[in-house]
């Protein structure tokens, strides 16, 4: 069977090889990941229909500094607030984890080996 012109263009004139199973699985996972990233805000926002939705607004009148920043972000852009919250949580978890690893290593405990008695 003759390959269509556009296929020849992308395969430099050679007939396209059937994709391996691993390749197909990887491509599907990448596609699903991008779909999830693209669609998740819309899906999550659709969690509650607009009618009757409880809208919460942070009271910024007595806030200062970082608290004020969080409250303003929350009130103005919910998606940005969410990304900031998740990113900060992940970063804090990672930094604190590394810090604690350093402390444990400095104490001299060997956590690389252990006997399993089960």
């Amino acid at each position: 069977m003759v390959a269509p012109e556009f296929v020849k263009f992308f395969t430099k004139g050679e007939p396209m090889k059937p994709a391996s199973r691993a390749h197909r699985v990887t491509s599907t996972l990448v596609l699903l990941f991008f779909l999830l990233v693209r669609l998740s805000p819309a899906l999550c926002a659709a969690a509650a229909p607009d009618e009757g939705k409880l809208v919460h607004v942070a009271d910024t009148r007595h806030l200062t500094g970082f608290s004020l920043f969080i409250a303003n972000l929350y009130n103005t852009d919910r998606l940005l607030f969410t990304i900031f919250a998740v990113g900060l949580t992940a970063a804090l978890g990672l930094v604190l984890g590394l810090l604690m690893d350093g402390i444990v290593a400095a104490i001299g405990l060997d956590l690389g080996r252990r006997r399993v008695r089960e």
Binding site: C44, A48, Y74, T89, G93, M100, I103
Partner: protein, 340 residues
């Protein structure tokens, strides 16, 4: 004197003592790392008892738990206890379940029933988990006394043997967990755990660890690591979806994480030194403490509920810390003697 540490949280407007949040973080970190779960099932009731509206307690808990799981999972990954293949299989269905649970919470909030409904579901859920753990513990002891078949740490409840007979393709091998079963078994476990996780604000560890041990047949030490791995990833999804719904109190998350970081390290390290079937009994007692505190809160006894949840959790934390310090001291002493 401690009023200096009382702040008003920026989003929910709840006044709370920062030290209480840090202490809760430490306790949950230690017990979560030790029992192999986020420990979030202690946080949601505690935050609610401290004055958080239930949807905020659920969202804040999920967010804090995601950050804390990074710390514990890194430690367990170093021990080689994580079956990533099993974890990812469950995760795919777990996130769907979380979204279903979160939508249910938002619906209950709109009709004004989130607090009582979630609290009663917590009581039933904690009762069932506690009952299963105690049943398993006492059955194992009875078998040991009679010289029965349960060997070493092998679970006395062996439902996984029956479930492994399900031959629905694809059949998958999970090498670290040494399990071979239908993919649909971990998938359905993931979906159910996710639904409860999204609804109760737990990472799923409270359900997932028993499910991994009793339904899938993992050794406990692999269940601990795999559970934390799955909880970490699903927790981030939970934090994301609750963040979009506006029910995450970020400042509380930060304070709890500051306490949970050293706590999770201590708890995870303690599993190296404190071992055996007694861990499951301690786990059961902690579950009972949490259940009683939720009941007290629902019945209107908020102050006794606060004391009960913090007292119970702190006592268990102390036991784990003492065990860890004694074990670590033994190891350091032995190493010093080996050098001499």
């Amino acid at each position: 004197m401690l009023d200096v540490f009382t702040i008003t949280l920026p989003i929910s407007g709840v006044p709370i003592n920062v030290l209480l949040l840090v202490l809760l973080g430490v306790a949950v970190g230690v017990l979560g790392g030790f029992f192999g779960m986020g420990g979030a099932w202690m946080v949601t009731p505690a935050l609610n008892i401290f004055g958080f509206p239930m949807p905020f307690a659920v969202g804040t808990d999920l967010c804090h738990m995601a950050g804390k799981s990074i710390i514990s999972t890194r430690r367990h990954a170093k021990f080689g206890n994580v079956d990533a293949k099993l974890g990812l299989t469950m995760l795919a269905f777990d996130v769907v379940g979380i979204e279903i649970g979160a939508r249910l919470v938002m619906f209950l909030e709109r009709v004004g029933l989130a607090g009582p409904v979630i609290r009663w579901v917590y009581v039933v859920f904690l009762f069932l988990i506690g009952a299963l753990v105690f049943y398993d513990y006492f059955k194992k002891r009875a078998l040991d006394r009679e010289g029965g078949t349960a060997q070493g740490g092998e679970s006395a409840v062996r439902w996984h043997v029956t479930l492994h007979r399900i031959n629905l393709p694809p059949i998958i091998s999970f090498p670290v967990a040494q399990v071979r079963c239908s993919m649909w078994l971990p998938a359905m476990v993931g979906l159910l755990v996710g639904m409860l996780a999204g609804f109760l604000g737990i990472g799923g560890g409270l359900l997932m660890m028993p499910a991994l041990v009793y339904l899938i047949g993992c050794p406990t030490y692999v269940a601990v690591g795999t559970d934390l791995f799955t909880v970490m990833l699903s927790g981030f999804y939970g934090a994301f979806t609750y963040g979009l719904k506006g029910r995450v109190e970020l400042l509380a998350v930060i304070f709890m994480l500051l306490g949970a970081a050293p706590g999770a390290q201590i708890g995870t390290i303690a599993t190296k030194y404190v071992r055996g079937y007694g861990i499951r009994l301690m786990f059961g007692l902690t579950v009972v403490c949490a259940m009683i505190s939720v009941m007290l809160k629902q019945l209107g006894f908020t102050t006794p509920a606060s004391w009960f949840v913090m007292g119970g959790v702190s006592a268990m934390t102390l036991i784990v810390v003492v065990g860890m310090v004694r074990g670590a001291a033994r190891e350091l002493r032995a190493r010093r003697q080996a050098v001499v």
